[in-house]
């Protein structure tokens, strides 16, 4: 009985004390009083776990959400899901913060003042859609449906396909993805060597050595979880090649000069071939273009072997890569010895003026290492596509779709690219090839996340109807005429393509975890409503009542209901890897040759792809005078980077991965450079490029190569420094191609 009545004593004395001080007992500061839930809270204490798919990046991890009395309170990884096997990164978990974020747009908003003034009038969905339908109807009536442009960041979900479907029926070719600003360099390389657009699927589980080119594996969001899930079984050795020391766990870091990845890959190939470390049988059977070959005309063409033997000895490339020849030799032998190697890369390595060639060189290195025999590439991901009936295309739509894309992808300006979002501002401003009348901006805050803020600003202001579909009043939304708040992925039904490891096929399901908290709609429902409003052939092409109806029709009957149980659909993981390459790997891409042949004659003359479809690597091009701007800017995507609305999530912004105030923007700089510039740790500095400048806090660290300045994307101002140069063939945005200078602010 020794501790009897402690509580009473405490509270009694507290009451007495409070009374003596003339104030009553305070509110119970431990009680959580939650606001009411739309649709009722259910039974008191009712708790359930709902399976869904994460939407914070394109990887498509399976999640399960704990819902207590109608409110989501925790997100965890789905242990059954083949992509992440139960784990979940910080981004995915922060989705909860987005769901209940106070700054979410609560209903459609119509501009109430000048552009960018920040005055809004709430509108009903009918009004907003009516306005859009009126505008689009006029476009079609005038025979210019191509003047509708759609910039869309989310390619994983079936909503993207619905937009494509809609645009086909409507008649615009301008469905512009964000690929060129992301990992298109790698995806196009896969397309031109293996025939399918997408990231290569690596066998992470059996890979014993990962050579990460320009990525620290965490930043490469599509592959991070596969790598981590594989590492949970047995962690492979990780060698990172990048100008900045990676934030993730690694075994070796090889600092490389920006833009030098392709040369390194070819040099490694050179050593492998020179020292007889390649499997010639495998290359003969499954790879075309390795040795000299005869084309259809019977002319002998030089093979890949001749190319690398001639120009890519490590001694020849060490100047451009900044990596000693001996290191390359050692690395190549290590790769060859290990055999089960994954050469991973994402947008980091290929975001340069030589992006496509770099991507192809890396793909070639992967194949040279015999990766298809297990441990590396097993092919490209097989993607699910919705099975909808082809849209009804009328004459107007046919004519419109035939018009050139405004971003110039596939034209002489960008013969090998699929999209080129950075070209949109100039096209709008110059009305080239035709004026843009309506612009839909989805899934990306272009103004804040893409380079060239001024150009984007001018262009967006010029569009007569700018519609931003977003949950946030972000920078792009501030310029819009209409802001349509989309329901967040935790509130809606959707089907997404996940990025599983090799040998698997995964479609994820998103299902409403909670009832929509605000007056928001799924983007798919908006498309269907617009199509219905337009009527005619467009309306007939999208005959569904709602997006969930469309989803039900997109997959075999009953699929969606089944998927609710598991959170998606996937095959049982194949244990009998290696799955062979789906087709011959073309080191010497015939697809490129064909495309170049198809391009206009003038283009052929002026911009012939060198080396006939081999990875023709060129030294990178940098924007800015080397004397005035002596340092290379290395923008990177930190772990917490979320393309669309990431800065609204304070959990991510406060991740303790940097010391000191996590909200500040840091410029990481090598001690040698810092000493030369007179900059000390913690100093306020101004980073300047030929395009803009941005203040930051100097972080002096030997984790950055001499001559480079590393800055994290996602914070205001970094994207403004980048000069939007690009790969002249593929249109890949050269994030890594800007020179800057750093000055101390006194």
């Amino acid at each position: 009985m020794s501790r009897f009545g402690r509580r009473e004593l405490l509270s009694g004395a507290a009451l007495a004390g409070a009374a003596a001080l003339g104030c009553g007992p305070g509110k119970d500061s431990y009680r959580i009083d939650k606001p009411s839930v739309p649709g009722g809270r259910g039974r008191a204490g009712e708790e359930r776990w709902v399976l869904s798919t994460c939407a914070l990046c394109d990887a498509g991890c399976g999640i399960k959400v704990r819902v207590v009395e109608g409110r989501a309170v925790k997100i965890e990884g789905n242990p059954e899901h083949p992509v992440n096997r139960g784990g979940l990164c910080s981004r995915g978990q922060a989705a909860l913060q987005a769901l209940y974020h106070p700054e979410r747009v609560r209903s459609p908003l119509r501009r109430g003042g000048e552009r960018g003034e920040g005055k809004w009038k709430p509108a009903s969905w009918d009004e907003a859609i009516g306005e859009i339908v009126a505008k689009l109807g006029k476009l079609r009536a005038a025979g210019h449906p191509e003047r509708l442009v759609l910039i869309d960041g989310d390619t994983a979900s079936f909503t993207y396909d619905l937009w494509t479907h809609f645009l086909l029926a409507f008649g615009s070719p301008n469905h512009i993805g964000m690929g060129s600003a992301r990992a298109a360099g790698v995806k196009l390389a896969t397309l031109y060597t293996q025939g399918r657009y997408g990231l290569p699927a690596h066998d992470w589980i059996r890979g014993r050595l990962v050579l990460a080119m320009g990525t620290d594996l965490l930043e490469s969001s599509d592959q991070a979880m596969q790598f981590l899930a594989a590492a949970s079984v047995d962690r492979p050795r990780v060698i990172c090649v990048s100008p900045r020391r990676p934030g993730c766990r690694f075994d070796e870091w090889i600092p490389i000069a920006p833009g030098g990845y392709g040369a390194l890959a070819l040099s490694l190939a050179h050593v492998l071939v020179r020292d007889g470390l390649v499997d010639r049988d495998f290359l003969r059977d499954l790879v075309s273009g390795f040795s000299a070959w005869r084309d259809q005309a019977g002319v002998e063409q030089p093979g890949f072997e001749a190319l690398i033997r001639a120009a890519y000895a490590p001694e020849q490339t060490q100047e451009v890569t900044g990596i000693a020849a001996a290191t390359v030799d050692r690395l190549a032998h290590a790769l060859a010895q290990q055999r089960r190697v994954v050469v991973a890369s994402d947008g980091g390595a290929t975001a340069a003026s030589n992006g496509l060639a770099t991507g192809m060189a890396i793909a070639a290195l992967n194949v040279l290492l015999g990766n298809s025999e297990g441990g590396g590439i097993t092919g490209v991901q097989e993607f699910a596509v919705p099975h909808w009936e082809a849209p009804a295309v009328d004459a107007v739509a046919a004519a419109g779709t035939a018009a050139p894309r405004i971003d110039g992808a596939g034209t002489a300006a960008c013969p090998l690219g699929r999209s080129r979002v950075q070209a949109v501002p100039a096209a709008i401003t110059n009305s080239e090839p035709y004026p843009v009348e309506a612009l839909f901006l989805l899934g990306t805050d272009a103004l804040a996340t893409l380079p060239g803020r001024k150009a984007w600003h001018a262009a967006l202001n010029q569009v007569p109807l700018l519609v931003r579909v977003s949950s946030w009043l972000d920078e792009s939304a501030q310029q819009a005429d209409l802001v349509l708040p989309e329901s967040l992925p935790l509130e809606t039904l959707d089907v997404v393509r996940c990025a599983p490891p090799a040998g698997e096929w995964v479609v994820g399901l998103r299902q409403p975890v909670v009832a929509p908290l605000q007056d928001t709609r799924q983007a798919g429902d908006v498309i269907i409503a617009i199509a219905a409003g337009l009527g005619g052939s467009v309306g007939r092409s999208l005959p569904w009542k709602s997006y969930s109806d469309a989803l039900a029709k997109s997959l075999p009957a009953g699929s969606v209901a089944d998927m609710k149980e598991k959170g998606g659909r996937w095959d049982e993981p194949k244990t009998d890897l290696p799955a062979r390459l789906s087709r011959k790997f073309e080191i010497c891409s015939q697809a490129i040759a064909a495309r170049m042949a198809g391009a206009a004659d003038s283009a052929k003359a002026s911009r012939a792809w060198p080396c006939k479809g081999l990875p023709a690597w060129e030294p990178p091009r940098f924007s800015g005078d080397a004397l005035r701007f002596p340092l290379h800017l290395v923008p990177y995507r930190p772990v917490q980077f979320v393309e669309n609305g990431g800065r609204f999530l304070s959990w991510l912004s406060e991740l303790p991965l940097v010391s000191g105030n996590p909200w500040l923007l840091r410029a990481e700089i090598n001690p040698a450079d810092a000493a030369r510039l007179g900059v000390a740790e913690g100093d306020q500095v101004l980073v300047q490029s030929s395009l803009g400048s941005c203040p930051a806090i100097a972080q002096v660290s030997d984790g950055v190569r001499v001559g480079a300045v590393a800055m994290a994307l996602g914070k205001d101002g970094v994207a403004d420094l980048v000069v939007p140069d690009e790969d002249r063939w593929s249109g890949v945005l050269a994030w890594q191609g800007t020179r800057v200078c750093v000055k101390k602010i006194s």
Binding site: M1, R3, F4, G5, R6, R7, E8, L9, S11, G12, A13, L15, D28, S29, Y30, R31, I32, G40, G42, R43, A44, G45, E46, E47
Partner: protein
């Protein structure tokens, strides 16, 4: 001795701390007495009591399981059907609320420790309506005393959160 008296005084004073003076009206004039007279068990309506932390209240659907057809001659009974047709949610007012930093599991007490409802709650045999006032005046002293008597855990974390 003086100290003991002071302790006792404090303990008593805190134990008799008044509950909120507002008497919330429950949505239905549900008679516990009549339900119990029909030999219904507490868990029939308070479904979480054996397996979950919260005992929880019946939803309208639970009520309608029986009350689709008239069950007796209580003049109040049609009200539940009226409620069902009106489409409103049956929002019982929760009167017994623990302090925010206390965890209490009905399952642990009812199922694992085999305690009766009446050990803490009032006997509902005689109560001819839904509760309009909290019937729990438990405090930490009572919890600790009972835990000690039954050799249950006295760890702070057994109940605090």
């Amino acid at each position: 001795m003086l100290l003991v008296a002071v302790v006792a005084l404090f303990a008593g004073a805190a134990g008799a701390r008044p509950v909120p003076a507002v008497s919330p009206r429950q949505p239905l004039p549900m008679s516990h007495k009549r339900h119990i007279a029909k030999d219904m068990k507490c868990r029939a309506c308070h479904q979480g009591v054996e397996g979950e932390a919260l005992a929880s209240f019946p939803t309208l659907a639970d009520c309608m399981d029986c009350h689709k057809t008239p069950q007796g001659h209580d003049p109040a009974e049609p009200e539940v059907r009226a409620f069902a047709t009106s489409g409103q949610d049956l929002a019982w007012v929760r009167l017994n609320r623990l302090a925010g930093h206390v965890y209490f599991s009905h399952a642990a007490h009812v199922t694992l420790a085999s305690m009766k409802c009446e050990d803490c709650h009032r006997d509902m045999h005689t109560v001819d309506r839904a509760l309009t006032e909290a019937d729990m005046h438990q405090n930490m002293g009572a919890c600790v005393a009972c835990h000690r008597n039954r050799h249950a855990s006295l760890d702070c974390l057994a109940c605090h959160k």
